[in-house]
Point group: C2
Chain length 578, copies 2
């Protein structure tokens, strides 16, 4: 997830306890994938119990902060929260008006949350600021988002002291508030007790406003409602959206019994601002934002001694695999290898491999056969022959497992034919490898007939049967882990030996090394090309559907098992089993 745009700006107070104000706004912006900026109008010493103090910022410094942000960053939407006093409202409104009317920029979406009083009852807006708010800021606003008491306070300034006691009153109040100048009003519910019959009644009376319901019984979902309360008895929260084009929308959801409501208003308005910054139309923005806020309350754990904050990050989960960097272009494979580095090293730098590199195969040493096996300091031809014979059998299993891959890929929805093509090409590569293998064996006097009639060793069957089993289980990603452990392992062995050969005073012998062909095959262009395709496929697999910890563990288990089985294969050769 890249939280580096679009940019959203909040102009509001600071809440030291982190649940409301610019802190709630920044958390909400982030949760919506927006880059958050913030202009602070006043500091509060505050916690879940109440507001212990307020320090106002000079209005000209508020303006200075706004200028710093707007002059440099491509802000796509703005919200205002606590503006504290008349001078600050004037400074903010004045600056935004100039900006909005300048020919250089078209007006930005502006959400005005007319914060007047904190949840705990502390006044957050001076009495004399209300009129300025209405006359100067509302006309610039795309949306204002008062709650019941804020709406009552705003309307009382026009001599209207009707309490907003029910849904009917909410509708008429929203309409009155709209006449104060903003392009839309979202009058928030939550302080009334409303049930579905109230909404049905309103609907009949008010020319069928649009109703958007969430988390309420839907048609044809009886199986999900067993034991649920009667539909008509569910206590509801209704938010009313009135837009300047006359459209009216009710947002309806269950009321939640919770003390985690500190900063609900800030969160909702900054969630709407985030959605507007992304270019989402107002009604949809409000719909998404109300549900985000609802889940934030629903999933919060009580915190502090009073009204605790919402859980702003309920939609987030962390990804396990880091982003690729120039220094680490294969982060997933890197993690896989690192997850069992010790066994991987034992496999890649196996004594068998070292002795291939040394070319310490001397037929004259046959006399010391038993001794050499015990001390392991010489790779005896017999060891290689055991290996070659068994590897021939193994390659058959390996090709068969690869042949299951196109089947798995074709079964998945997201597969391209290109992937299947590269996969079937890999089967051809394995056949090519078998061809090389046979030719190499012939130099040791082993015929194809010999190879075919050699009994399969336990280690061969174990490894071969395991990858076929994984293939038949049918999960394409786990089959890929099994195949890659082998493909990448031999590629690593090839490059490791090659690297060792370039070191000063290398122990690797190239001249007259009877195994040089084998070594160079795996370090060569063709095999390494296949490794490259394999690496890309592995990384793509992790990027397309980032694994959870559960799935990574499953993948890692297959990878680790194959690493062990590969090592076991070489152990077998060294011990002349088979």
């Amino acid at each position: 997830m890249r939280v580096d745009g679009p940019v959203a700006l909040t102009i509001a107070g600071s809440d030291s306890s982190g649940g409301a104000g610019i802190q709630a706004d920044l958390k909400t912006f982030a949760a919506h994938g927006c880059y958050g900026t913030s202009v602070i109008t006043a500091l509060t010493a505050q916690n879940t119990v109440g507001v212990q103090g307020v320090h106002a910022c000079p209005p000209e410094f508020v303006a200075k902060q706004i200028t710093s942000v707007l002059d440099d960053l491509d802000v796509r939407a703005i919200k205002t929260g606590m503006l504290y006093d008349a001078e600050t409202v004037k400074a903010v409104a004045g600056l935004l008006k100039t900006r909005f009317s300048s020919e250089l920029s078209s007006p930005l979406p502006l959400v005005c949350d007319p914060v007047c009083v904190s949840t705990s009852g502390h006044s957050l807006l001076h009495e004399d600021a209300i009129e300025v708010l209405i006359s100067q800021l509302f006309p610039l606003s795309t949306l204002i988002t008062p709650n019941k008491s804020e709406a009552e306070l705003l309307l009382s300034h026009f001599g209207d002291s009707t309490p907003i006691h029910d849904l009917e009153a909410m509708l008429s109040s929203a309409q009155k508030l709209l006449s104060l100048g903003p392009k839309a009003v979202l009058l928030k519910g939550g302080h009334h007790s409303i049930t579905m019959p109230d909404i049905v009644r309103i609907r009949q009376k008010n020319g069928c406003p649009k109703i958007i319901k969430h988390d309420l019984p839907s048609d044809n979902m009886e199986i999900l409602l067993v034991g649920a309360p009667n539909y008509d008895d569910i206590e509801l929260v209704v938010d009313v959206l009135y837009q300047i084009d006359g459209s009216l929308t009710l947002f309806v959801r269950p009321w939640i019994q919770s003390t985690s409501t500190h900063g609900t208003g800030c969160t909702l308005s900054s969630a709407i601002t985030s959605e507007l910054a992304k270019g989402i139309p107002l009604e949809q923005a409000v719909d998404n934002a109300t549900m985000y806020t609802y889940h934030g309350i629903q999933s919060a754990t009580p915190m502090g001694r009073g009204y605790g904050p919402l859980n702003h990050f309920h939609r987030f989960t962390t990804i396990l695999i880091p982003q690729p960097t120039p220094a680490n272009p294969y982060p997933f494979t890197h993690m896989l290898i690192e997850s069992n580095a010790k066994e991987w090293k034992e496999y890649v730098e196996h004594d068998f491999v070292r002795q291939l590199g040394k070319g310490t195969l001397d037929r004259a040493h046959f006399i010391h056969f038993v001794k050499s096996v015990l001390t392991n300091d010489i790779l005896h031809p017999e060891m290689l022959i055991v290996f070659l014979r068994q590897d021939y059998h193994y390659l058959k299993y390996y090709a068969r497992a690869y042949a299951l891959m196109p089947q798995r890929l074709l079964a998945a929805k997201s597969t391209t034919f290109g992937q299947i093509d590269s996969c079937t090409k890999t089967i051809s590569n394995v056949l090519h490898e078998i061809g090389n293998h046979k030719a190499f064996c012939a130099t040791f006097g082993i015929t194809e007939q010999d190879l075919e009639t050699t009994n399969e060793a336990g280690a061969t069957i174990a490894y071969g049967a395991y990858i076929i089993d994984i293939g038949l289980q049918g999960d394409s990603t786990r089959l890929m882990m099994a195949l890659m452990a082998c493909l990448l392992g031999y590629g690593e062995v090839g490059l490791w030996l090659k690297k060792q050969s370039t070191l000063p005073d290398t122990w690797v012998k190239l001249e007259d090394n009877p195994y040089r062909h084998w070594m160079e095959e795996y370090a060569g262009e063709m095999y390494q090309g296949a490794v490259r395709i394999g690496l890309d496929a592995l990384e793509a697999c992790a990027v397309a559907d980032p694994p959870s910890a559960v799935r990574f563990k499953e993948w890692q288990a297959v990878w680790a098992k194959c690493t062990r089985l590969e090592k076991g294969f070489w152990d077998m050769a060294m011990e002349l089993r088979g």
Copy 2:
């Protein structure tokens, strides 16, 4: 992800542009799963180009904010950033000292980032504050995190004006800084040009300090390094951690060419604070935090006209399925059903189902057979018989598909035997369903022999073969989607008919309805018990390994296809095909 604890506190300045200061800290806390609180010492009007102004907050109000937070919330770690002037440093240090030495609480981890100058060169700490910082705050600090120029400034106060020009100088400076009182010093690199040979030299000279490397060539990863620069030529960043117990750790990683470095210091220190708040030991905390910051720079997109911010949320991805709520305890199934609501409704409320409910099967109407078929207003016995005969065949496919499930579950690492047990019990339930089916058919004069010899219709083969195919493809989750569409669909049909039967003036007929037994079977306790198990399994599947958009689409495709095939099954009966 629940970001509601542990609580971390930052005491620092505000950066209006959101990339540094408490804004960077809050973003970093959130990215680490901590709940962020913030005490503001000063406001800056700032952007990526520079600092345009500073408004200091009265020291006593800084103290008041700290008190508000610590009195109410269970803070687990604190960091300080820009403290601006001597009076503020005194206020913060004095208050923390009192808190830390009170018998009620043991000292909290305190990370002091001695912010002196902004990246853009603006002074953020008064000259006279440095001495107070050293004498009063350092002794309380778990860790101080100066960069090169801050370290030079701090040491110059003791007459030491040696420039920190290389790794050697970093080590000795870190040791000197440690003697100023903190429990550990992290001296940050990034301003030097260091390569691996420098580190090897240091290591030989300084008694082998511990070295933690990241994103650098590791052993046995040659395959990942094709085309990478020579190890010894890579330009490195080294951070030096010196702890009071004498342990020395170097954190080494590649240097990144980037302009996205605004707020790097704030981000690193708050990342360390987050890790300490979670109880992670210091060295590991620093290691994690340096890599978090490194990836933050690496994955950032340029923003603004100067030094842009880091990408703080590079580890995050959003989850598709909302959290369960009391009103929506099955959010995943809810999403599935909603994703093709129209087709689901056509299936569940199919005319065939309605007519079963009406019991409008009248043998006397046989005469109107053709007409009734055309107008579809009567469910003719022939239709039911077509359905029953084909459903018998379908149930065989269904049981076979279910029989593949234990195989799939056993192949997965995370399966419990309980899951497999409940799965095999479902097969017994299907056999029971087949038994009922046969008994019900007998009441229509259809014998088992008849059922067995009935030809399978196209719709039966289509549906049956599809679920077997999905099962053989081997992905257990997609097989589950296929099986659940059928299990849940019939459960919904049963409950929907039952609900209709309770409405006033219901069209459902229970008395003398020859299909009553069939209807009641699906609404009954036994079948609904199976539905409940299915729902729980579906939800558990989405919780254990939350699907990405890619995987949800794959699952949804199987679900939608089965819904269509179910509907096709009833269409077939209505058209007397088969």
